[in-house]
Every structure is written in C-alpha cells, then in structure tokens.
C-alpha cells in the first residue's frame, strides 16, 4: 500500500510541475505575440496578446490551489517541498510576465496607429533577447537544470545594456522633436516592460537554482541597468 501512496504523491508533484510548464508556454506565447505586434505592426497579434491573460491567471490559481493542497495533505520534505514552493513562486513570476506582455501589446495597438519608427526594430530585437531568456529558463525548470538557470541569471546584463542604450536614444529623440514625445513615451514603457520581463526570468532562474541545489545564487546579480542614474543634457540647437 505504501508504494501506492508514494506513487500518487509523485504524480501529483509531477502534474503540478507540468502545469507550471503549461503556464510557461502560455506566457511565452503571449509575450511572443506582444513582440510580434511591435516588430511587424501586427494589431491582430496585439489583440491576441491582450486576450491571452485570463487563461494564465486561471492556471496560476489552479497551481496555487494544488500546491496548497499538497502542502496541507502531504507535508512534503526536502526536494519535494522545494519543488512545491518553486511551482508557486514560478507561477507568480509568470503571471507578472503575462501582465507585462499584455501591457506591451496594448501599447503596440497605439503605436500601430502612428507612422512607423525605426526604433521599434531595436525594441523587437530587445524583445527577442528577453524571449530567449524566458525560453531558456523554462527549459531549465522542466529539465531541473541548475547550470542552465545560472547561465540565464548571468545573461540578464545584455538586456539591461540594450535598455540603457535605447533609453538614451529615446531621450535624445524627444529633445530633438517634442512632437515625438507621445510616441517615444510609449516606446520607453515598452522597453521598460521588456527589461522587467528579463528580470522576472532571472527571478525564475533563482527559484530553479534553489529547487535543484537547495542553495541560493549570489545575492548581488550583475546589474547593468543604469537608467535610474542617467540624464541627457538638453541642447538648445536642434
């Protein structure tokens, strides 16, 4: 009889983590649609991304319910406990990524009504970098791979660098031509949202690392986002 109990417990844990993977797939698809909407001025993709949010929220709810039931009824220990905790935490991060994707898509709808601007291509490229991070970290989650998670964690600097560069460029644009302020502000928020997605990926990487190794990644992630200290001087000649 004991064998049976353990087997079904193992299955419940596995089902929980399959559910997280499924939620990850939804977040990936939503984020991809949002970036597609920016890159190709595709308002249909944007609407798809805006609508995709509710299913993610539903699954998050279900993951939490199941994890709670597991904690209450099975009292998992060691790696089982960490896995349960990781499922709850990852679901939270993925839900945030879904929200950010939705916000990006909403802004894409506005941007697509304006004349095209080359900087959207830079944003799309930054988005691709974040998409890559999300894919890698979800792969690390499903394959329980701590090294891969650590690699994702270390790679976030690249997205931060692109963000810094875009931030400066957008500020310069706005100074040169105040008529672009409306458009550029949207672009600035899109860039910020993508950068936040990258940060959520590193959070998931930390969760995965903890789940596999039971240790923590170093407290100080190599942060390269310097925009909070950036100012671009206003030059009067235009």
């Amino acid at each position: 009889m004991t064998e049976h109990t353990v087997k079904s417990f193992g299955e419940q844990l596995e089902a929980l983590s399959a559910l997280v993977a499924q939620m990850g797939g939804l977040a990936e698809a939503q984020f991809a649609a949002a970036i597609e909407a920016i890159a190709r001025r595709d308002s249909v993709a944007a609407e798809r991304a805006v609508g995709g949010d509710s299913r993610i929220d539903e699954i998050q709810q279900e993951i939490e319910d199941r994890a709670l039931k597991l904690l209450a009824l099975r009292q998992p220990m060691a790696v089982d406990l960490r896995e349960t905790l990781a499922a709850i935490k990852t679901a939270g991060e993925l839900e945030r990524i879904g929200d950010l994707a939705k916000n990006i898509a909403k802004r894409a709808l506005v941007l697509n009504r304006e004349p095209p601007i080359r900087l959207t291509q830079s944003l799309a490229r930054m988005g691709k970098a974040a998409q890559n991070q999300l894919k890698q970290v979800l792969d690390a989650f499903t394959s329980r791979n701590a090294e891969e998670a650590e690699a994702v964690w270390n790679r976030d600097g690249e997205i931060d660098e692109i963000y810094n560069s875009l931030f400066r460029e957008l500020l310069t644009y706005m100074m040169e031509d105040p008529r672009t302020i409306g458009l550029c502000t949207h672009l600035l928020f899109v860039a910020k949202n993508i950068e936040r997605c990258g940060d959520h990926c590193t959070n998931i990487a930390e969760v995965v690392y903890h789940m596999v190794r039971a240790g923590h990644l170093a407290a100080n992630r190599p942060k390269a986002d310097t925009t909070s200290e950036t100012s671009v001087p206003y030059e009067t000649h235009a």
Binding site: H4, S8, E11, E14, A15, S17, A18, L19, A21, Q22, G24, G25, L26, E28, A29, A32, I35, E36, R55, E62, R118, Q121, S122, R125, K128, Q131, N132, K135, L138, T142, S143, E158, E161, I162, N164, S165, R168
Partner: protein, 450 residues
C-alpha cells in the same frame, strides 16, 4: 475507463480522473484479497462444524488451526500473484502492436513524429523530432517538452478523437514555423500521434521579401534623392559649368556605388537569413579562411597603410561551417577593423582555441566604441556615428550579416572596446567532437524506443 478519459480531453481534466482509477485499482485489489481470506475461512467453518458434530472439541480446535493456517498461506500466495489489472497489462507497452519495421521506418522519416500515451507522456520520438526538441524526452509529459499552448490544445483535441491541424512557431533562438498534425491512432491502449510539417522556408521567404522591400526602399531613398538632385542641377544651371559637372559626376558616382553596396549587402543578408535554420555541414580550417579574407582586403589595407598580422596556434581543430559564409564573416570584421582603425595603425588577428571552441580575435587600434553602443552594434542599420559611417561607405549591415552567420554556425560574438584604445571582436565557433561521424552511411536499426 477509456471513454471516461476521453470525455475529459485536456491534461487538467484528466488528472482527477487518474486518481479515480487509482481508487478503482485499490478496490479491485482489496476485493481479491478478501476473497483469498474468505474461501479458506468458509472451508474451515464447514469443516469445524462437521468436527463438532462427529469428533468433539479436540478435533474442532485442530481443524480451526488448520483452516487459519490455510487462510494465511492462501493470502500469501495471492499476494505474490498479480491481481487482475487489465489496463496496466495493456499499458505495459502500448506500441507492442507496432511491427519492428514500422518503428525503423518512423525513426528514419524526415518528418518529426511523436507518440504519446494516455497521460500525454512521450512513448516514442523519431530522429527528426529529437533534432527539433533536443534529447532527453523520455517519458516526459507533452507539456514539459512542447510548451506551446496551440500544440497542447491540438493534442488534447486529438485525444478526444478529433484529428487537428494547427500552425505554430518556435520564435527563439532561431525562428521556426511548423504545421502540427495530431491524431489518435489507437483507442485501447490510447496512443496519440503528433506530426510536424516544417514550414520555416516558406514563412521565412515571405517575411524576408517583405523585410527586403521595406529596407531597400527606405535605405535607397537617400542616395537616390542625392543622385536625382544632381541630375536636376546638371540639366539646369550647371549645364555648361565644366568644373561643377565633373564634381557632381564624382559625387553621383560615389552615391551610385553606395546604392550598389547596399543592394549587395541586403541580398547577402537575405540569403544568409534564408538558411539560418539549416545547420552547416562542412569541416573548415579557420586559419586558411582568415588568411583568405585578409588577402582579399590587401588593396584596402595598403591604401590606408595599415599592417594586418595573422597569428595562429598550431594544431587547431577544424570547425563545422560553410566556407563562403565564413570568408564573408571574416572579411566583414577585418574590413571594419581597417575602416575604423587608426591611419598607419595595425590590425592583429589571433586564431586559437578555448573550451572546445576555436576563436578568432580581431583587434584594431582605433577610437573604440562607447559601452552603451556595443549591445546594439549588430542591429541592422544601427550606426554609432551616422556621418562617419556614411563617409567610410558603410551600409549599416556589415555586423548584422556577421551576427546571422555566427548564429547559423551556433557560435558566439564577443565585443570588447575601450574608448581611445581600440576594439576587439572575437568570434567563437564550435569544433565537432572527434567521435561524431560526418554522416551515417547505413540506416541504423531503431536507436531509441522510449
């Protein structure tokens, strides 16, 4: 049992259902055990009654003891015997009905195939599917190996008996497009098949055509405007001005050359992007490729009186690559080093190996690149200094081409730079592991049935 499963199509709904099955199994098992105890006990009771009637209490107790012992032995024996579980016996190998030759055929198919069981766990993947999804798919759940919600939805539909056919794409690291077909190929045991049809080439050519037109029309507009402006002037008031005419014709020549370079670069970028998802197959020695690229640029470096030196480690392994693309890659990088290096300066090229990869480091002694520009250098049409790039005849596509070639070769580009000291561009390319054969000549038997 299967009908029940079919009613709950998706993974979520199937899970509580699984628990029901566990419960049923437990009941079956308990009943079997009870029966095992009950029979000897009944026999014991009848025999005991007979003993009381005919033999007195001594014989009665002896028979009761005998009955209990029989019960224990019987129970022990039933524990050893498998209790009847029809599903489990069938599920042992759901692919048992598949003839071995069909398995070999499926493994060899160029179409990615995956078979899933009742729990949406991977039963079998063929070689092409492993190429798409990577190794280690063994017995994993579909949602763990292929997270795409569209595909998971198709699988769930197929499990309910409705064959489906949906398009989906894997956007990173290199964009790929597929049409996924899912169908239930066996009801009991339940087996669902997932087939992928690769549409990358078709989608890519569509996208590239659109990109090409957008880029070309945008980027060609400036030089074209300049040329038409000069034509206008030459027709008008500069008609008889000899000096102005030759000056204008020179400028027009420069602009025309720029347009030609732009079209060349756009075309080669399109060509490279078209094949980006196809792994290169050749085996190439990097040193000779680098030397070839440097030799081709000799006239340019001589013109700026630059010294280009190539140093290579001895005994370097070959890399997996496409010869022409690698020559173009190093030509672009060395050309940049010459263009943006100091006059009478030097370009040092180092070929070596590190961590199982071969690297080529190209160092110039120019002005260097600001840190915030580095991550965006490989963006198409991104220029650190627009005016300077125009003067040097850059198209803004050189490093974008470099990036796509490296991405196809699954390599890496590292850029280090310090303002005032120069920049180093290092290309890392993977070398094949010695044990991998170039191409299997004979089809192997089934390599992996999961």
């Amino acid at each position: 049992m299967y009908e029940q499963n079919d009613r709950h199509g998706n993974l979520l709904a199937a899970l509580p259902n699984r628990r029901n099955r566990d419960y049923d199994e437990v009941m079956l098992e308990s009943i079997a055990r009870l029966r095992a105890i009950a029979w000897p006990l009944m026999f014991g009771a009848i025999a005991g009654g007979a003993a009381v009637l005919f033999g007195g209490p001594g014989l009665f107790w002896a028979l009761v003891a005998l009955g209990l012992a029989a019960a224990l032995i019987a129970q022990f024996v039933t524990f050893q015997e498998p209790v009847l579980r029809p599903q489990e016996q069938a599920v042992d190998d759901p692919l048992a009905a598949l003839p071995p030759m069909t398995r070999v055929l499926m493994d060899q198919l160029p179409i990615p195939v995956m078979l899933l069981d009742d729990d949406e766990r991977v039963l079998f993947v063929n070689r092409s599917m492993r190429d798409v999804l990577g190794p280690g798919l063994d017995r994993k759940r579909a949602s763990s190996v292929l997270r795409n919600p569209v595909v998971l939805g198709a699988i769930a539909e197929a499990r309910r008996g409705f064959s489906t056919n949906v398009p989906f794409s894997l956007p990173v690291p290199i964009e790929r497009h597929y049409q996924a077909y899912a169908a239930r190929i066996s009801v009991s045991p339940s087996v669902t098949a997932l087939l992928l049809h690769d549409l990358t080439v078709v989608k890519r050519s569509e996208q590239l055509r659109a990109d090409f037109i957008a880029n070309a029309s945008h980027e060609l507009r400036t030089p074209l405007a300049a040329v038409s402006g000069f034509i206008e002037t030459l027709r008008g008031h500069a008609k008889d001005d000899e000096a102005a005419r030759s000056q204008f014709l020179d400028i027009m020549g420069v602009e025309a050359a720029r347009m030609r370079r732009l079209i060349d670069d756009l075309l080669s970028l399109s060509r490279i992007e078209m094949n980006e998802h196809v792994k290169p197959e050749g085996r190439i020695g990097l040193e000779s490729v680098v030397r070839q690229a440097v030799a081709a640029l000799k006239p340019l470096s001589a013109q700026d009186s630059m010294t280009v030196t190539v140093k290579a480690e001895a005994g370097l392994p070959q890399v997996i690559g496409d010869h022409d693309e690698l020559v173009q890659l190093f030509q672009n990088l060395v050309h940049n080093a010459i263009k943006y290096g100091r006059e009478h300066g030097r370009v040092d090229i180092n070929v070596g190996q590190a961590d199982g990869q071969v690297f080529v480091a190209i160092r110039d002694d120019g002005e260097g690149i600001a840190a915030n520009a580095i991550p965006r250098l490989t963006e198409r049409f991104y220029r650190v200094d627009v005016k300077r790039s125009r003067e040097k005849g850059g198209t803004g596509l050189g490093l974008a081409i470099v990036k796509h070639i490296i991405s196809r070769h699954q390599g890496r580009l590292a850029i280090e730079s310090k303002l005032g000291e120069g920049s180093t561009f290092t290309v890392f390319l993977p070398s094949p592991r010695p044990e991998t054969p170039v191409k299997p000549t004979m089809p192997e038997p089934v390599t992996e049935v999961l």
